[in-house]
Amino acid sequence: MDTIDMTIHGLHQALESKQLSSVEATKAMLARIEAVEPQVGSFITVTPEQALAGAEAADRRIAAGDMDMLTGIPLALKDIFLTEGIRTTCGSRILDNFIPPYSATSWEKLRDRGAVLLGKLNQDEFAMGSSNESSAFGVCRNPWDTTRIPGGSSGGSAAAIAARQATATLGTDTGGSIRQPASHCGCVGLKPTYGRVSRYGVIAYASSLDQVGPLTRDVTDCAIMLGALAGYDPKDSTSVDLAVPDYVATLPNGVKGLRIGLPREYFIAGLDADVQKAMDAAIETYRRLGAEFVDISLPHTDYAVATYYLIATAEASSNLARYEGVRFGHRSASAEGLIDMMTKSRSEGFGAEVKRRIMLGTYALSSGYYDAYYVKAQKVRTLIMNDFIRAFADVDVMLTPVAPTPAFKIGEKVNDPLQMYLSDIFTIPVNLAGTCAMSLPAGFSADGLPIGVQLIGRPFGEEAILRAGYAFEQATEWHRATASL
């Protein structure tokens, strides 16, 4: 097998058995990045020097017998993760010159295990978008069809895997930003439970919804990555102090007797026929593997998108106040005086979608509107959480589509934000409920576009969805397909 096609566990074996060095694997990846990057645009910054230095250090560790599953594995990070000394833009012009003085906890954890950093990945600006089109650093294309979007906001994180530019990547998921691009690009993408992975050093979009997670070639890799990322971080008050299970060990336990819920609100009229077909096939596969299906209801699903766009934008309007050109980031060259400097720096630095969401959120928090919008949205959020709690009394996991359609065309929805927002209709409720979910490759459209299905787990029930995902993967071949790029 070609190095660039390998999974983490595959490459780990090759490194361990000395068939391959990390430097060789890293060079192969850097060459691949260079070759296909003009067609894909997954990266904002490639870091070949850091990558090779990291690979050399990893090879020394391997030679010394100090090896972890991630030692020597070439990874790439969404450009939302702070990396000390390496430019971190969050896809925004306002941070195009920002070199962070510290690193995100999640990257530190991977780095300490010997992972190699290939570079920083393209994304929607401040993770606001579902198509990667709001990036200030150029289009990112879907490797399966380069006229189409890779999904977003972690578009580069998914595209880099499909284009075989990284063995695994990190993304963040606020309303579906890991799962939707994973579905569109045919990879595995996990959004862990809120509080499972530290948010320290991850540029905040909507703090009560943001969560870090991996995008990988298969479920085993996903389990390996989660095991490395999960855990309490004293620097993040919202991270939860709960033991981290061995996610890989329980993967083969199967799904016999597993009770899978099918929330009826997710099977809406107008669901794309290819998506419906993939869902039907997935249900059939699970039935054959011995799982039981239960018809369930999540009655407040209809309100999820509206609720999300009040809470997320409210938090964003506050989180993004720090970008005013005083201490770091873009500062307008033409400003006169303080107010003018702040106003112009922000006007020039932020893109249209970010401005739209700052305005929406500012409005939702304004005196006189706060109760009608923000407070009400929080109440609905509680109802949505309760929907999940009630439903999980009957089932172990849920199975749903990830996105209503396969990847759409670049430019198709840029002028229709509402249509764009609806592409996250099946993923947003999970963030509002704070629980975990995973996108799993489950088929292709008639046009050859990947389609994912979503497994939703109980809070801190990542083991169950990983196990269910693994069983599905063992019974299917979808995850082995590669884009012909």
Partner: protein
């Protein structure tokens, strides 16, 4: 028409923690600009706040000492506004569900009844940084931001509008100041802004039950200025109304040089702070056990101690008041009492010589060179007749200067009191012989010259003669 002022105070109390409220940076002042900072207090992207538990403990202490209820589940909120000294573009504060609620303090003005002043709430928040203007390193005549102070912990204590005069406001403020310094949670330095006050002032016609429109007066940083600012503001509002005008809701700045307030921003220009719960911090849960533990750890408060000094130590009210002005002074006094036993005698010395020497030399009681034990020893020397009260003052001055024990000084300088009547008689005889004229005067009925003889004897004995013995022997001998 007669007007009734209505005043409420908002007091910011800077807490004496070693580190900041949401990060581990030191709170020390006077360092190089921006040297006491980290990603959290710089508001860098991705940084997250973690609550300093010490701040919570201090807040609970302040709450319990001002009769507040401690909120079992309090939350932090973001107060959003743009200013260059506010690195995140929001201040982390508390809005709904602050940590302490519904408390009170009793105040008493001279000759008036005790009055209870309500405390609406006490909440925790972070301070902002500060702007510096002028010539800066690498920048001529510019403006810079120093974020060393950003994220230092504050308590905001909000009173009910229960105060009716500037004197009441000052009395309340002094009492609050005494409590937070007594608890050791604030250094109380008003000039440096460790304890700062905003006053909400309005007036209404006497007898009315409709509150007038209030103005918020900022930047009053001494008790004197609080009184001045409130009085100015009351008069300004009355004059305005009398002249047919109306008071507008606004924020006003006090100018201590002019003794006046001036408009800073009107209600229309007021910020919409868009408060909402900070999603980066989980709700702060304080169970009964925590509250009770804090209650047990509270020191005896000034008011309790004052009462005890009166009832248990038998001190006059005035003495008890003076000796509980601050915790260190009261502790000094108590240490003296436990070493000596006579509370009134110790009180007299602490309020007399000790206070005078402290004031003259600008020394804090904590640094008093004469320890309570040494003071007690000095008093025992008086009690035992070793030295006279007069000599004791000389000994005290020497103790202050050298830090030596009183018996050492008495020995070194030969200051032991002479009570031996033979020795004193010899002196008296000599003086009577040398001043025969005055002896005649006394015997002729001019008793005032008795004092002259006492003075001469004391002088001749270099002050060491026991005054009681001198008096007795002189009387005997003069009467002949």
């Amino acid at each position: 028409m007669k007007y009734q002022p209505v005043i409420g105070l908002e007091v910011h109390v800077q807490l004496l923690t070693d580190t900041k409220i949401f990060c581990g940076c030191p709170t020390k002042f006077g360092s190089e600009p921006n040297s006491q900072t980290c990603p959290v207090c710089l508001g860098l992207p991705g940084a997250l706040p973690v609550l300093n538990k010490k701040v919570v403990e201090f807040a609970i202490k302040a709450g319990l000492s001002t009769n507040c209820s401690i909120t079992p589940r309090s939350i932090f909120a973001r107060k959003n506004y743009f200013y260059p000294d506010l690195p995140k573009g929001y201040q982390i504060s508390q809005f709904e569900d602050p940590i302490c609620q519904r408390g009170w303090l009793d105040i008493q003005l001279e000759g008036q009844a005790v009055k209870r002043i309500g405390i609406t709430r006490i909440h925790m928040e972070e301070d902002a940084g500060k702007l510096v203007h002028g010539d800066l390193p690498g920048l001529h005549d510019g403006s810079g931001v120093d974020l060393n102070r950003a994220c230092t912990p504050l308590l905001e204590v909000v009173s009910e509008p229960d105060l009716r005069s500037s004197d009441e406001a000052v009395a309340y403020l002094k009492q609050l100041h005494q409590i937070v310094t007594w608890l050791g949670i604030c250094d109380g330095n008003m000039e440096e802004g460790s304890f700062r006050c905003d006053a909400n002032v309005s007036v209404m016609p006497v007898g009315s039950d409709t509150l007038g429109t209030r103005a918020e007066v900022k930047n009053v940083n001494s008790f004197k200025f609080v009184k001045q600012a409130i009085e100015y503001e009351i008069q300004r509002q009355i004059d305005l109304i009398e002249d047919g005008g109306t008071v507008v809701q606004e924020t006003r700045l006090f100018d201590p040089n002019l003794g006046k307030t001036r408009s800073m921003r009107s209600k229309e220009e007021a910020h919409d702070y868009r408060y909402f719960p900070d999603p980066d911090l989980v709700p702060l849960v304080i169970d009964d056990e925590w509250v009770e533990r804090s209650r047990r750890e509270l020191p005896e408060l000034p008011e309790q101690r004052r009462q005890r000094f009166i009832t248990e130590l038998g001190l006059p009210e005035y003495d008890a008041e003076v000796l509980t002005a601050n915790r260190a002074l009261s502790e000094y006094f108590e240490a003296g009492v436990s070493a000596h036993g006579n509370a009134k005698a110790v009180a007299n010395w602490v309020m007399g010589e000790i206070t005078r020497s402290l004031n003259d030399s600008g020394t804090a009681i904590q640094d008093c060179p004469v320890t309570p034990l040494l003071l007690a020893e000095l008093l025992k020397l008086i009690d035992g007749g070793t030295i006279s009260g007069k000599i004791a003052k000389t000994v005290f001055d020497e103790m202050w200067k050298s830090g030596k024990a009183p018996h050492v000084i008495v020995e070194e300088q030969g200051l032991v009191q002479v009570s031996d009547s033979g020795a004193i008689e010899a002196i008296i005889d000599g003086i009577m012989a040398a001043n025969a004229g005055q002896v005649e005067e006394y015997r002729g009925g001019k008793e005032k010259v008795f004092g002259f003889f006492v003075g001469q004897v004391m002088k001749a004995s270099k002050g060491k003669a026991n005054p009681a013995v001198v008096n007795q022997l002189l009387l005997d001998k003069l009467k002949g």
